[in-house]
Amino acid sequence: MLTVALAKGRLEEEAIRLFARAGARLKPSEARSRALVRETADGSLRFLSVKPADVATYVEHGIADLGVVGLDVLAEREPDVYQPLDLGFGRCRMVVAGPEGSPWLHRYEGGLRVCTKYPGIARRYFEGLGYPVEIIELTGSVELAPRVGLAELIVDVVETGGTLKANGLVVAAEIMKSSARVVVNRASHKVRLDEVRLWLGRLRKAGRAKAGRA
């Protein structure tokens, strides 16, 4: 039995459906259960529901062999895990955004502040531009920060852009595109290679089948 850590929330249901198409259905008694540990009917997989940022932790420590998590979360944490498969769902963009009509980076005379839930990504991005910024880490409602003067810019994920718009923000630059990834523990990939490959193959096939229908 392989253990799979799933990022709670928007990716989890999508991932459970994909695993079902790949042949691993949850036990009927657990399909709607809110239990944090659930097993498939055939006993081949065990799912753990964990917070997105923790998926990589479970996989990196080998508690879970596999995980499903967004590339945005992986880019922030930079965990030491394999990332063999892009599942294609859960698409979003990591962007720099600021108030509409605000001048972009080079117009600011230093002292630029950036609010984000992704301090690692933000720091690396602005370091890469050679631009001095103060990164302020928040845990949510980042869009509020420019409106109330906590920061000039934010770095955050956007799906539709609705939240940005509602708060008078526009995208200034795209840092990366993100989608759901399968991650694999390094040791599991070595000592349980056949099982890992079997499931990667099934997921790839199930994902392609769906893309074909859409």
């Binding site: 932790t57 990196e60 420590h61 080998g62 508690i63 965990p79 030491d80 895990v81 394999y82 990332q83 063999p84 498969l85 892009d86 694999v184 523990n185 390094r186 040791a187 599991s188 990939h189 070595k190 000592v191 349980r192 290679l193």
Partner: protein
């Protein structure tokens, strides 16, 4: 058995820095068992212990290391502006020992170490900032026999601890290097390709190869190669690469080494794995990592590094491997391997001091533990 009073806590100023640990006698006994088992194997193969400074000049420690390890050094100052650091690895200090005090020593030189190293790791990942490495370095042996010696010694080390199920993933960086060189991929594009291989990210690898305008035929053979894992048959599957400069030697070396592995009865434990690029800027030949079921990280790693000694103006082939002692302890704990404590005999002091001390000495002479019992256990004050 004395019981600790409940509810007593250490004072609130007590702290232990993140990433460090203190060992109680029970923990320390397990650790000592691992170290003495490994030491016995290392010495049995003719390796002599090397002891190097705990702290050193930062630039000396950094010789031959990748950027990540160099950046992880805990730095100190010697008071006159020279940067010191705690050692992050043992291979470089041991290589310097060979290049200095042992420069004229007859070859091959076989050295082992069991020492602590210090790295400013991100502790939230569960990594230690101080941990112990036990390893060997074999200097002056360029052939497959030297590679085999280190690999077989590594396997024996694990067996000496009672570890029966382990897997050594063996590769040769010369193969990937040969394809990349042949395709003329270098600079940033090479970094992208290697990063994608390191993450086993097939989408990113395909994209990186496209960006590098890699010829389709070679791109396909690279993608096939990095997915190749298996026993001897994996070597056969890689044979088409033998036309590339560098790859022929790599394949021949692995073929020869496989013969050693078979003769050592280790085929069951070795997987040829051409998908790893770790240590690309360090290893020059075969490289391997050791895994065990139920342990999420490698127990140890090793390989050939023929260019390190060139930093010291020596032309000296070298191969080595190192275990992380904490990873081995983690395996032992999970596997429930117990290290028996020696039998303790309490010596009753009421028989008189001379008789009691004589009795204690004779107990110890039998290899047991004698503790002097001064009376009923004292009650601890709350």
């Amino acid at each position: 058995m004395k019981r600790r009073p409940i509810g007593v806590r250490p004072p609130s100023w007590v702290r232990l820095p993140e990433g460090t640990t203190s060992y109680t006698p029970a923990d320390a006994r397990r650790k000592a068992h691992v170290e003495s088992s490994l030491r016995q194997v290392f010495e049995g193969w003719g390796y002599g212990q090397a002891i190097t400074p705990t702290f050193d000049f930062a630039e000396q420690l950094g010789v031959g290391l990748g950027a990540e390890l160099r950046e992880s050094m805990m730095r100190l100052s010697d008071g006159s502006g020279r940067a010191l650091a705690l050692r992050v690895d043992l291979t470089t200090p041991v290589a310097r020992l060979v290049a200095t005090r042992m420069r004229e020593a007859p070859l091959p030189i076989r050295l082992y170490y069991i020492e602590n190293v210090f790295r400013m790791e991100e502790v939230h990942r569960g990594r230690r900032r101080e941990f112990w490495q036990a390893g060997v370095e074999l200097f002056g042996g360029a052939g497959a026999g030297a590679d085999a010696e280190v690999l077989i010694l590594a396997a024996e080390s694990l067996q000496s601890l009672g570890l029966r199920e382990f897997q050594i993933n063996l590769g040769h960086l010369g193969l990937i290097r040969a394809i990349l060189d042949h395709m003329g991929i270098d600079g940033t594009e090479r970094t992208w390709v290697l990063e994608a291989i390191d993450r086993k990210d097939e989408t990113a690898l395909a994209a990186a190869l496209r960006a590098a305008r890699a010829p389709a035929r070679h791109a396909a053979s690279l993608r096939r190669l990095v997915g190749l894992v298996g026993r001897h048959e994996a070597l056969k599957a890689a044979r088409p690469l033998r036309t590339l400069p560098g790859a022929r030697e790599a394949l021949a070396r692995l073929e020869e080494l496989w013969g050693w592995i078979a003769d050592a009865g280790l085929e069951r434990h070795v997987a040829l794995d051409f998908g790893e690029v770790r240590g690309m800027d360090y290893y020059t030949g075969v490289n391997f990592e050791i895994f065990a079921p139920g342990v999420g990280a490698a127990l140890g790693a090793g390989g050939r590094y023929d260019r390190l000694l060139a930093h010291y103006d020596m032309d000296m082939p070298a191969v080595g491997c190192a275990f992380t002692v904490e990873a081995l302890l983690g395996w032992m704990e999970r596997a429930g391997v117990q290290v028996a404590a020696p039998r303790r005999v309490g010596i009753d002091m009421s028989v008189g001091r001379c008789a009691a001390l004589r009795e204690a000495a004779s107990v110890r002479a039998r290899g047991q533990v004698a503790t002097l019992e001064f009376g009923p256990p004292a009650r601890r004050k709350r």
